[in-house]
Symmetry: C2
Subunit: 702 residues, 2 copies
Amino acid sequence: MDIKVLDALLKPRSIAVIGASATPGKIGYTVVKNLIDSGYEGKVYPINPKSEEILGFKTYPSVLDVPGEVDMAVFTVPAKFVLDGIEECGKKGAKGLVIITSGFGEVGKTDLEQKMVEVAQQYGMGILGPNIVGVLSNSMKMNASFAPTLPLPGTGALVSQSGALLIAIDMATFTRRVGFDKLVSIGNMSDVEFADLVEWFDQDEDTASISLYIEGLKDGRRFIDMAQKTHKPIIALKSGVSAHGAAAAASHTGSLAGAAKIYGTAFEQAGVIQASTLDNLFDRSLALSLQPPMVGENLLIITNGGGVGVLATDAAERYGIPLKFAPEDVQQELKKYMPEFGSAKNPADLTGIAGADWYEESVRNSYMHPWVNGLTVLYCEVAITEPMDVAQSIKRAIDDSGITDKPITVSFVGGEKTETAMQWLVENGIPAYGDPDAAVNAMAALHEYANLKAKRAPLALAPNGDSKEKAMAIINKVRQDGRDVLTEIEAKKVFEAYHMPVPKCELAATAEEAVSMASAIGYPIVMKIVSPQILHKSDAGGVKVGIENNEECKAAFETIMANAKAYNANANLHGVVIQEMAPWGTEVILGSVNDPTFGPSIMFGLGGIFVEVMKDVTFRVAPINQSQALDMINEIKSAPILKGTRGESPKDIEALSATIANYARMIVDLKDEIDESDANPVIVYDEGDGVSVVDARIILHK
Amino acid sequence: MDIKVLDALLKPRSIAVIGASATPGKIGYTVVKNLIDSGYEGKVYPINPKSEEILGFKTYPSVLDVPGEVDMAVFTVPAKFVLDGIEECGKKGAKGLVIITSGFGEVGKTDLEQKMVEVAQQYGMGILGPNIVGVLSNSMKMNASFAPTLPLPGTGALVSQSGALLIAIDMATFTRRVGFDKLVSIGNMSDVEFADLVEWFDQDEDTASISLYIEGLKDGRRFIDMAQKTHKPIIALKSGVSAHGAAAAASHTGSLAGAAKIYGTAFEQAGVIQASTLDNLFDRSLALSLQPPMVGENLLIITNGGGVGVLATDAAERYGIPLKFAPEDVQQELKKYMPEFGSAKNPADLTGIAGADWYEESVRNSYMHPWVNGLTVLYCEVAITEPMDVAQSIKRAIDDSGITDKPITVSFVGGEKTETAMQWLVENGIPAYGDPDAAVNAMAALHEYANLKAKRAPLALAPNGDSKEKAMAIINKVRQDGRDVLTEIEAKKVFEAYHMPVPKCELAATAEEAVSMASAIGYPIVMKIVSPQILHKSDAGGVKVGIENNEECKAAFETIMANAKAYNANANLHGVVIQEMAPWGTEVILGSVNDPTFGPSIMFGLGGIFVEVMKDVTFRVAPINQSQALDMINEIKSAPILKGTRGESPKDIEALSATIANYARMIVDLKDEIDESDANPVIVYDEGDGVSVVDARIILHK
């Protein structure tokens, strides 16, 4: 989206309020009032044919009557008047339209919504909304919304797909001490969607981090692409992850919530950090907006209470940064600031007698040590040490250290004084939490950010020779045949075009052909009926395995064809596939779906009970490279089976990962053709011996 | 423990402070001052040989000089003076000793700690501590501690094993709006432990619920017994659940943290609800102290914001109470209090235009409907409705409904006004939270409580015939033999004594015996060497399977004995076991450990990769009944394999559950003998065909 459009929506030089009103209580009044109260410094033009003046501003009958330039127009008129208003804004040369008005897609009027976007686009304008609260920005001193106040100032931006939640979050910024620079209500996303805002925030100097409340994305793939390119942390709270919740989300915003599992993996691929709850979104946003990523695995915890120390230690393991014992020199240093009965191991327990001076020394010295990649400081309120003294000591220690590239989080547990001290810490750039678990969880977000950032790779495709042409030739023939299901042999030829190893196989139309093909392939062979009408080949007596010689081959051909005819007299029999008999190994399954939000996505798991009973599978949005395919293999619980366990030799994971990547490539290349597909089973042999796609299935879009 | 001792510790009529001081800053001063400030109405006797008067109280050189009765004595003297003080308290007739003093077990002085308990017990006294903060009780107006103030009043009791955390929690009760009637610091638990306090709280009319911060239990089994008998909800935050955390806990309290997995299952068996974090302990304690259990599965959510509604719906699934659509009549009623574009399904979305009146009507009507088992009400702060109005409407609706046996939880998201409204709700008995997730999680605690309460069964053993005598006869022979490892055949005989089906097997000392035993058992048979010195029988050439007739049997006997002699010339060869050849079925594994906290505990899982790779196992503290054994079978992920999946016939789960219960019985009966044991594999046959313990192993305590 044109950056000027987004500039107009987020940093407008002038604002027209279409439907401004002089009547308190009306949204058209509230928006003008809010612009005044927030101290907006640009021009404000109330538009209302029936008024002369609203809240001291001269009022114009139409936006076309405004003397100056109009950058952004905020719509508060009823839905039926919006279209005309947009037309006028276009003529006036406005860029950004903030459509607060509801009554569009969310009540089924998608046509009107689409028309609105079309008109706006004709004039090069962009639409935020409809069905939104508006846009709020502290750096712009702009409350262009009907939310009551600008949020507590902060350095992050927050976008919410729920308007009610945006208002509630706005007010909660004060009680939770978590500020934001901007709050954006995104509503129906008729035009501007999350990806556009992410792109704009990335270049905005007033935005340090990006927080998203998402019910459903419209174009998931574009979101991933944009998020991957972003240089700032993005954190998302995705709702509608339960079966019932997805239904509830769909009913209330008209958006498609999508499968929770694909969302999770897509966020990871995009380098987007996830929040588990609303509290967690606040907590993690705070850390991400104030602190650098945690690069490395060494978290040090300093505490004055063993209890909170152990709770934080448990949390560190739970959130993926398990503690290690501090190295000897770190321990030696820490021991200077604790009594005999303290512990310097990690957590470093300064004990309840620790004063602010011990906190200061131990924080400064350990923070400066290269072993420490992140520091979480805990404090239980005790009579002998004032919480504010501890807070200030921590801040002083961090400042004195001169270190700015590693993160710190803090948890104080106690009463009013600790609350005040934590507020002071937050105002001074150090995220502080009432629960040790939250402080560690926030550190984990910074750790996840570093790891996701290092791992994310764009969903881009290198040139791939003539695979696609070869595959399309097969698919086109199937289409010409009036079918949308490929036969096994057709599917295998498509897989083969994408460099996936399939057993040697040929289609024999006669017994003579069968014998000659079998001799060429080499015995033993497998023979299977090929017919678009016969899906359950074994049931039809259409499969023979372990054929050893020409005689058996000839006999099998006749039997299979006869069985198939008897099974379904109307079946179109293409012939019998003559297939090399693949030796046995470890079975795995590859599958693909066309996710409604993210498009072609790939599933991987071990075969049989591992998929069916243990649900031990993993997903990725395609394409993926071989290293990402390796990650998939490593993250299933049954991975040790492939790596060689219980005396078995390790399997050819190298070949398997190449096959997974090729498969992902195939479903992306052919996404306009393939509806779903699988390779089930793929046999994985011992290291160096490769893999074999023993059975394949491709179903085309209807 | 004697109830009078606990009465003296928690509801003392008079208190002596041993080591009282006139010097501000000293703990002996703080305790006396706190007793005054909290308004304690019983007698207070400062004891200090060097003072005449402390804070207006006449001071006595020794507790023996006190004119009146002394119910409780609080110790603040250095560790070396404690023993003498206890002796004097005993002579004086005190009952409860609160030993604040540290420097005992936690610094390795376990002897001194034990001596202390011995002396106290001689006089019929009980000890709380040492190494504690003290005891605080709002209903007694008693702050017998060095914590700065009584907590915010509430109806629950909280016990903490960490002193620093207790003080911090004490102060946090005010900022978090979660009150407690009592706070008890339990420290080293030299005498009074969690189980004693649970027992006492159960009969205390001022205690509605029991919250525990546990680092490690001393006698886990007693804790389970006591918790199972309790009529009030118990919630525990167990720290030290991570590998590193357990080490940290051990280093700082000297207590044994135990395996996290066994703790989890033990809490469930005991009917104890678990908290995941400190925040969660506060949140769940609040609900459990104010609301009845949620009996049934139907949770209704009412909201004015779709966003928070979906977040709550996700939470409901996450915490085990997934939403269902409300029945038609409930929906019809709810539709009266929402606009056309609202939704009555569940969550019931009254929409942002909902006023307090709609909240009141929808809450009252749905709360009274028998379908609703629990109600969670959400509110996002909006300009048109005051949070306090909504709060009061909810309260009025609940009161008007006349319903008192189902729970309600509330979440308001917004600013200062919502905080005030939530505070009002809590003061009026309705738990309220700033995060929808927390409100649903609190409801889930009430739901878990109902379910755990219904399921918990005492760890009691019915009489069991002569199993134990039979087993002990075998074990005694092994002991006489100077061994602590049973041979396979001995182990199987012990299993058989406890009615577990083992294949028919006999020990043959000669080839002739072998042949006659084999004929009696019936061919085919398996033959295996029996020698305490030969553990790896196959390696020694000591196993022959599929023996079909007398001739083969005789030959196999000679070969096995010869191989065994060649393998280890010094081995004591008991002979060769002649064993019925069990047909194959589904392999499962049973194992037992003697947990340091909970004693004999049983593990169950499917054999091979399911245990070794997938870690798909489950635990119980033994004994268990057959229905609990069925629960174990049902809760492993691979359970569908036993129930019949992928065309396989269902297995004999009835026989398997009986075997699991018998095995659990065995390890409890023989807990003084068996260190660890397993039955690996146990073959489970088709429904009705039973199970067979194919291999068994028992290792005795050294």
